[in-house]
């Protein structure tokens, strides 16, 4: 057993409701229904517990967090608890008036998602007509208020060619930072590997574009980059290490070591309705299941990278190797690696696969204001 340190970041999934239906949504296939969502005062209590536990950064996410009518109140509660408050949004559902209220409430930072750089692409991927136009309007309001902005571009086979324009757009919007994230195959994206898997050439080209832009835009735009992992040799570090840095709270109050942890069938999760957050973090079974390095089998157990990547992603090991304790199949040392690379090539070569859009949770989303 390792002694855990306090977490730094918490992702609060305020709701699974969303006007968009991106085919790579990280929300679970089984979504929380509106009537099971935590109430305003529950969230306020959880934010205070998180701050007491040592959380510094709060990410308000979803679904679309603006779908919650009490978003402004929640931001205020988070700031009162002493948390740095980041809103992760598609922009849909935000009005100029609501953004002003969020400003008043003390919102620290906005992260705006980008589905594509043209209305045709963005609206097709997001499954929401007029979404791109609306988003551009919201970006203008964000700039006028002066919120620090990160643009978050999710890239895949269909839109990777738009990366240079996405970087230009970030500069034009006055964003200080862009996150260039190649789609990660969890949640709904697993259903869309034939449609979304980038080719190896595209993945290499994206890396080249990022490197070039980083040099050119040094001091103007910070570029954080998540490369295509099926085409890599080593897996990505998971959440900075399972149960070491961050936690997720689902709309109905379950506390997860990562957003995809519910795909691991043997784990059970505590709920903020039943237990204090600190007890869940330090003693919860799900958090201790893969904390540290003691749980690791070979080849991870004797690998020099084990505290670099912590054996990669548990949910990916589950999805691809059928065993959440296995070495992430992305790793070149995994017995499944060769097979995974072959599958990645096959997905990338699949022609004409239709997008499977994310479904809506229990109740129809509220219309945007």
């Amino acid at each position: 057993m390792t002694t855990a340190r306090p977490p730094i970041a918490m992702l609060a999934e305020l709701t699974h409701r969303c006007p968009l239906s991106c085919p790579y949504c990280s929300n679970p296939i089984e979504m929380a229904r509106q009537e099971t969502e935590l109430a305003t005062q529950d969230w306020a209590r959880v934010f205070a517990e998180a701050a007491d536990l040592g959380v510094l950064q709060l990410h308000l996410s979803g679904g679309e967090p603006a779908t919650r009518r009490d978003l402004e109140t929640l931001v205020r509660a988070a700031r009162e608890a002493g948390l740095y408050t980041n809103l992760i949004t598609s922009g849909i559902g935000l009005t100029e008036r609501r953004l002003d209220a969020l400003d008043q409430a003390g919102l620290d930072h906005v992260q705006l998602s980008l589905q594509g750089t043209t209305p045709e692409m963005a609206d097709e991927i997001g499954g929401y007509r007029g979404g791109f136009k609306r988003k551009m309007q919201v970006a203008e309001w964000i700039g006028a208020i002066g919120f620090p902005l990160t643009l978050n571009a999710v890239l895949h086979r269909r839109n990777l060619h738009q990366l240079p324009r996405a970087i230009e757009m970030a500069v034009e919007m006055g964003a200080r930072r862009i996150e260039v994230a190649t789609v990660q195959f969890h949640g709904w994206a697993l259903k869309n590997r034939d449609a979304l898997m980038p080719t190896r050439e595209q993945a290499a080209e994206a890396t080249r574009i990022v490197q070039e832009a980083r040099l050119r835009l040094k001091g103007t735009l910070v570029i954080d980059y998540v490369p295509a992992d099926y085409h890599s040799d080593y897996p990505k570090r998971c959440m900075g290490g399972w149960g070491s840095t961050g936690l997720n709270v689902t709309p109905d109050g379950q506390v997860l070591p990562c957003h995809a942890a519910q795909t691991i069938p043997h784990l059970s999760f505590d709920n903020v309705r039943d237990k204090p957050l600190s007890e869940i973090w330090y003693e919860g079974a799900a958090f201790n299941a893969y904390r540290g390095t003691d749980w690791m089998p070979e080849p991870c157990a004797s690998c020099e990278r084990k505290t670099v990547d912590f054996g990669g992603c548990r949910c990916q090991a589950m999805a691809l190797a059928g065993d959440p304790a296995a070495t992430d199949p992305v790793c070149i040392k995994s017995p499944h690696h060769v097979d995974l690379q072959a599958r990645a090539e096959a997905h990338a070569a699949a022609d004409g696969a239709a997008l499977v859009y994310r479904a809506a949770p229990g109740k129809a989303p509220e219309p945007a204001e």
Binding site: P6, D52, L53, L56, D108, P148, K218, G219, T220, V222
Partner: protein, 90 residues
């Protein structure tokens, strides 16, 4: 970092006392940077009015240390923040 330049913490970047870990941190988008005493001393002087030269002169007097050394250390630290866009300079 030039003597006459004025450093500012932009909106969304702020000093924060981390009461759980009992240390000062700099909070910024997606980052929490733990500050040592020196880092905290420098950033506490950054007020958007005083120049880099004034800040390092003040620190030299306060800590009874050569200004050159302080300027050198601070320039490296502030330069790294500037590159990540956690600091603006006018």
């Amino acid at each position: 970092m030039q003597e006459g330049e004025i450093p500012t913490l932009p909106r969304g970047v702020r000093l924060h006392w981390d009461r759980v870990r009992e240390t000062w941190v700099l909070l910024a988008p997606e980052r929490a940077i733990t500050l040592d005493q020196v880092g905290h001393a420098i950033l506490s002087e950054v007020d958007g009015h005083r120049s880099f030269g004034e800040i390092t002169a003040g620190l030299a007097a306060k800590y009874n240390a050569p200004q050159e050394q302080i300027a050198k250390d601070s320039a490296g630290f502030l330069g790294a923040l500037r590159e990540r866009r956690f600091l603006e300079v006018s």
